[in-house]
Amino acid sequence: MSRRVVLGIFQREEDILEATRATRRSGLTILDVYTPYAVHGLDQAMGLRPSRLPWVCFVAAVVGAILKLWFEFWTTMVDWPVNVGGKPWNSLPAFVPVTFEVMVLSAGLTTVFTFLVISRLWPGKRPVLPVPRITDDRFVLAVQETDAAFDVAQVRRLFERCHAVAVEERVEEATP
C-alpha cells in the first residue's frame, strides 16, 4: 500500500502554529510536525492528548518507595537483626532518607526509560528526517492522505497562505 504525504516547510514558529491550526480546521490528517525546539502551544494546535507519563512516574515512585521500605525492615528486623546502640528494631524515621532517595531514583529512571521506549529512541537508531535542517532552523508539517477527497493543490495553497518556504510531495511504497 502506498502512502502519500505532503510536507510544508516553514521558517518561523508563528507560521507553523498557524499552519497546524489551519490544517486541523480543514479536517486533514496531520502525520507529524517536526520542529528544532519545543514550540509552545503546538500540542494544542495538533490536538495531542495530555501525556500519561506522570502516572508512570507516580506509580514508579510509590512502588520504589514501598519496596525499599520493605527491604529496610526485612534486613534490620527479620533477616539478620543487629542491635546498633540499643536503637529499636522499628527505626522508621531513620529509614525515611534512604526510602526517599530510592523513590526519586526509581521514579526518574523509570520515567526516562518509558519515554525512550514509547518514543522509539534507542542508541544508534537511524533518524528519519523529512528535511535535513529540522534540527537546525526548519519547521515541517507533514499531512497524510487518508481518503479520496485529499487534494494536493488545496493543501499546497493552505501551506503557502501560511508562508511556507517550500511544499514537497512524497509517496512512500511500504508503511513503516
Binding site: 525546539y37 501525556s51 532517595e101 530510592v102 518514543s119 528519519v128 535542517r133
Partner: protein, 482 residues
C-alpha cells in the same frame, strides 16, 4: 511569558539572532581547532590532576597515616573537600531544575554548563569519602547486596549509609537530566557537516532524535517531571550531608540549623563557581551574546541572597550557643572565632559575608573583573567554612586531655589540588566536545519568528523612569520584518 517579545525589556539573547545563527555560534566552538589558550589551561589542569592522582596512589598503597589526622581530629581536608565539591554541584541543579520550575527563562543560556559542572563536582566529591575509607577497594560494602558474610546488611540507621544513597541518586539523576537536555542538541551536531568522528558519536548518542512534535510533547513532560524530582532531591542531598555532622554529639555539630544552613551554603558556593566558569567561558568561547551582563547580574543577586542566608546562619549559631547555656557549646563557638584556628574563621566571615556585600552596588555587578574576583573569593571562603566546621569542632571537644591540633600534610594539599585539576580538566573537555549552550532551549526564547507584544498594556512597564536607553530598535525591526 512573552518576555521574548516585549519591547520594554532587554532581550535575553543579544544581537537579534536567527535560529541558524544560534546553531552556528554554538557549534562553531566544537568545530574549530582548540586554541593555544585552551591547551595551556587543559595541560595545567591535567598536571594538577596528576599530582592528586599520585598522592592518592601513594595513599592507597601506604594507608591513611600519610594524612595529618589523629585520634581527635579524625576528619579534616578530605571531608572538607567532599562537602565543598558536593556544595558546588548544587547550583547546577538549582539552575536546571528549580529555576525551570519557577519559569526563569534566563536560565537557558547557562543551564547546560551548570549541569555539567554539577556532574563533574559530584565526581570530585565522590572520590573523597571513598579514599577516606582507608580500604577503598571495599567501597562496594556500602551497598546492601547479598554477600557471603551472612548476609550482613548495611545499617540503614546510619547517616553515612544515607549519604551513599543520596550521592548515588544525585549523580544518577543529574546525569540523566543532563543527557535528556542534550538529546536535541546532539541531533543538531549529528545533522551538521562536522568532523566525521564527532558526527558518528553524536549519531549514536542522539538516539535517532528527529524533532517530532509528538516526541517533543512527551519530552517536555519528562523534563518537567525530572525537574520536579531533582528539586527535593537537591535539598535532600545536602541535608543528608549535614546530618553526617548533626546526628553526632560533638558541640558545634549537634544543631538543628545544619540542614538549611548547609543547603544555602551549597547554593551560595555553587553559584559563585557558575559565575567563575561563565565569565571564563563567555570570553574564551566568544559567547558574549548568549551569556550577557544581564545573566551575570541576575546570578550576582542570587549570590547576594544566599550570602545573606549564610550570614544569618553564622549569627544564629552564635546566638543559640549563648542562649543554650551549655558551656561546651559556648566554648566551641568562642574557640572557633578566637581559638588557634580563628584565622580560618575570619577568612570565612570576610569572604562569605563581607565581600559579597559589594554586589549591592550595580556598578560592581556589571564589572566582570570585579564579579570574577568576588566569585573566586567566595569559594575560598566556602572551602574554609567547611574546614572551620569540621576541624575547629573536632580539635577541642569535651575532655581537655584529648585536645589536639591539626595541620594538613603535603598529601592532603596534593589531593585538594588534584580535585581542582580533575574538575577543570573535565570541564575543559566538555567545552570542546559538547554544545556548551542548550541550543534547543535558547532557540525557544529568541524573538525570531514570534509576534511581538503589540499592546503596551500587556508588556511589563517599569515603575521608575527608564534610566538606560531602551532597546527600542529590536522591536521596530521585528515589526518591519513581519
Amino acid at each position: 511569558m512573552f518576555e521574548g517579545g516585549s519591547v520594554l525589556r532587554q532581550p535575553l539573547i543579544q544581537g537579534e539572532k536567527s535560529l541558524r545563527q544560534v546553531t552556528e555560534d554554538v557549534c562553531a566552538a566544537l568545530e574549530r581547532r582548540p586554541s593555544g589558550l585552551w591547551w595551556a589551561a587543559f595541560l595545567a589542569a591535567f598536571a594538577a590532576f596528576l599530582v592528586g592522582a599520585l598522592a592518592v596512589g601513594y595513599l592507597v598503597a601506604t594507608g591513611i597515616g600519610v594524612w595529618g589526622l589523629n585520634r581527635t581530629v579524625g576528619w579534616a581536608v578530605g571531608i572538607t573537600c567532599f562537602v565543598f565539591w558536593i556544595g558546588i554541584g548544587h547550583a547546577g541543579t538549582l539552575i536546571s531544575a528549580i529555576l525551570f520550575l519557577l519559569r526563569q527563562r534566563w536560565r537557558t543560556s547557562v543551564n547546560r554548563s551548570a549541569e555539567a559542572m554539577t556532574i563533574f563536582a559530584v565526581i570530585c566529591a565522590g572520590i573523597f569519602p571513598v579514599i577516606h575509607l582507608g580500604r577503598p577497594w571495599l567501597a562496594y560494602w556500602l551497598f546492601p547486596y547479598p554477600n557471603t558474610r551472612g548476609p550482613l546488611w548495611v545499617n540503614f540507621r546510619s547517616p553515612l549509609v544515607w549519604d551513599a544513597f543520596a550521592i548515588g541518586t544525585y549523580f544518577t539523576i543529574s546525569l540523566v537530566f543532563w543527557y535528556l537536555g542534550l538529546l536535541p542538541d546532539l541531533a543538531t551536531v549529528r545533522d551538521r557537516a562536522g568532523r566525521g568522528w564527532q558526527r558518528r558519536i553524536a549519531g549514536i548518542l542522539s538516539l535517532g532524535w528527529n524533532g517530532s512534535a509528538r516526541t517533543w510533547h512527551r519530552y517536555e513532560v519528562v523534563y518537567l517531571l525530572l525537574a520536579g524530582l531533582a528539586t527535593p532531591l537537591v535539598v535532600s542531598v545536602h541535608t543528608i550531608v549535614s546530618w553526617d555532622f548533626a546526628t553526632s554529639v560533638i558541640p558545634g555539630w549537634h544543631t538543628t540549623i545544619f540542614p538549611p544552613y548547609f543547603v544555602a551554603g551549597a547554593i551560595f558556593s555553587g553559584l559563585a563557581m557558575v559565575l567563575t566558569l561563565m565569565i571564563i567561558a563567555r570570553r574564551t568561547m566568544r559567547l558574549e551574546d548568549y551569556i550577557t551582563l544581564r545573566h551575570v547580574e541576575v546570578m550576582c543577586k542570587l549570590v547576594l541572597a544566599t550570602s545573606g542566608m549564610v550570614a544569618l546562619a553564622y549569627g544564629t549559631e552564635f546566638f543559640i550557643a549563648l542562649y543554650s547555656g551549655s558551656p561546651y557549646e559556648q566554648f566551641a563557638f568562642l574557640n572557633r572565632a578566637a581559638g588557634p584556628f580563628g584565622w580560618s574563621y575570619w577568612i570565612m566571615v570576610a569572604c562569605n559575608v563581607l565581600i559579597p556585600q559589594l554586589l549591592w552596588i550595580p556598578r560592581i555587578r556589571r564589572s566582570l573583573a570585579a564579579v570574577f574576583g568576588i566569585s573566586v573569593l567566595i569559594n575560598v571562603g566556602m572551602w574554609f567554612e567547611r574546614f572551620v566546621i569540621i576541624v575547629t569542632s573536632l580539635h577541642r571537644d569535651y575532655l581537655p586531655s584529648s585536645w589536639s591540633s591539626y595541620a594538613p600534610t603535603p598529601f592532603e594539599i596534593a589531593m585538594l589540588v588534584g580535585s581542582f585539576g580533575l574538575f577543570f580538566s573535565l570541564f575543559l573537555l566538555f567545552c570542546r566536545v559538547l554544545p556548551v549552550i542548550a541550543m534547543a532551549e535558547v532557540k525557544g526564547v529568541l524573538r525570531d519568528g514570534r509576534a511581538p507584544v503589540r499592546s503596551p498594556a500587556v508588556a511589563p512597564v517599569p515603575l521608575e523612569p527608564v534610566a538606560e536607553p531602551l532597546p527600542a530598535f529590536h522591536g521596530a525591526a521585528q515589526e518591519v520584518r513581519s
